[in-house]
Subunit: 206 residues, 3 copies
Amino acid sequence: MLENYIYYLDLLGTFAFAISGALSAAEKRYDLFGVVFVAFITALGGGTTRDLLLGSTPVSWMDNYQYLYVIILAVIFTFIFHKQIQKWRKALFLFDSIGLGVFTIIGMQKALAFDIGIGFAVIMGVISAVLGGVIRDTFNNDVPLILRKEIYATACFIGAFLLIALGYLGVDIQIGIPLTILTIFVIRIVSVKYQLSLPSIKQHRE
Amino acid sequence: MLENYIYYLDLLGTFAFAISGALSAAEKRYDLFGVVFVAFITALGGGTTRDLLLGSTPVSWMDNYQYLYVIILAVIFTFIFHKQIQKWRKALFLFDSIGLGVFTIIGMQKALAFDIGIGFAVIMGVISAVLGGVIRDTFNNDVPLILRKEIYATACFIGAFLLIALGYLGVDIQIGIPLTILTIFVIRIVSVKYQLSLPSIKQHRE
Amino acid sequence: MLENYIYYLDLLGTFAFAISGALSAAEKRYDLFGVVFVAFITALGGGTTRDLLLGSTPVSWMDNYQYLYVIILAVIFTFIFHKQIQKWRKALFLFDSIGLGVFTIIGMQKALAFDIGIGFAVIMGVISAVLGGVIRDTFNNDVPLILRKEIYATACFIGAFLLIALGYLGVDIQIGIPLTILTIFVIRIVSVKYQLSLPSIKQHRE
């Protein structure tokens, strides 16, 4: 059962990430291929980077066609609903925040199967969750948003450390995982609602 | 014999891609190393990405020095002939279009040797052909051209699907391969001549 | 003993590279996570790219926590001393130039352990040394500096060829390695002092 809900949340997150990629590509007036391409790297870029760094190849999205179908669905959705996308924005933000937690968990679990330190598993979890967005912005020739403004990667870090702490405390993983996803989700929601952000050096200076 | 003509067309395509990289770097006033670097990633970036995703390492251009020699030759050519490059533009465009077809075929064949779905072999073929240009534009700090304006990746997709269709129809691969290269070549030439392009979401909106 | 001084110089170079990344991120007003992220890819991006191309995974910085600690130290250092960073600029430039030589050597040695040509080992050495800076500038949405203005990669190339030449001449590797690091260091210092640079095609044209 555990694998099942993780699996569906993973597809939901992939859907939200792909739409965020497709919308950013539409903003740049990319053509259909460009939109599919950016949707693709936004949704799969984080997991791909993780797989490459770990040496887990062929990379995981080549295992089955589910991710591809979800991304194509997301692009079709974007083409049809882009005029009313404002209406969907809240739902997409929720899916995106769920995706953030699920991708972190999946990235950590994958990393722990390799013989690397737990600190690196945390990094792999965060990379899985956030690097798709960073690559999207880089290809779009924008300064990556998440490096600048929001508590995004930080939510993943906190969740990742929580999962490890719960493990040390002997909490069952079946409870630890949903709790971690929920934590990342809540931090993200709260930080956006109250516009929280991390300090930057320049602000410091002023 | 088959391997032979593929081999020479591959080097011809590499030459054309390297020159396109070198010219874009010259445009940006990069120094000699910068020109070589951008020529290198333009010519080899697609195949390298494919090899990394598949886990075929050390990546294929480390097998022999041919690619390296062709790229250095392309840079020398660019340094000598950059003033008259307009004269060469038509020939380079033809070489580039040949390269597009050959890279797609080589990428697909390489992918099919791994245990992945045929849909992913198509994606690997297209990535082999187009990602060098995307990485070039990203390093040059430009919005990737092929995501925006021309039927470029689309020609590769059509060719890739044709090759698979021909395989299902039982057509000999010795005929299927040149037919695929020719198809990609012709689509590319025709689409540039008649300035065809894919729809984008923004155009849609207006 | 040889391994020892290489090891400490490697950490020193990592420290300098991480600070250069952290400073560039502060310049862009990235938040704390952004600063850590850019410090990280600047310091480790070259070695990571080399490891991926060679297929040496999990990539080498996952072997132990030393690199991570040094990078975090560099970020803390940057947060504390950014106001007086001008005072430190000369020392950082020296560390950076040492790092350049050490990274080249380490990259070549790693590559030679794989079954690839010596020319590719040279390329792997240079990539180890310079690609972190190129990736930093790309993520920061800047045109990569080293592609444009300074004798940077060139110093690495000269050092790499020197090491190979010394090997052919039968010079002991225990002498060849410090000599190579010193050569790269001196070329870098001299080229910055006298503002030497490589020719570019556009300058040519004018």
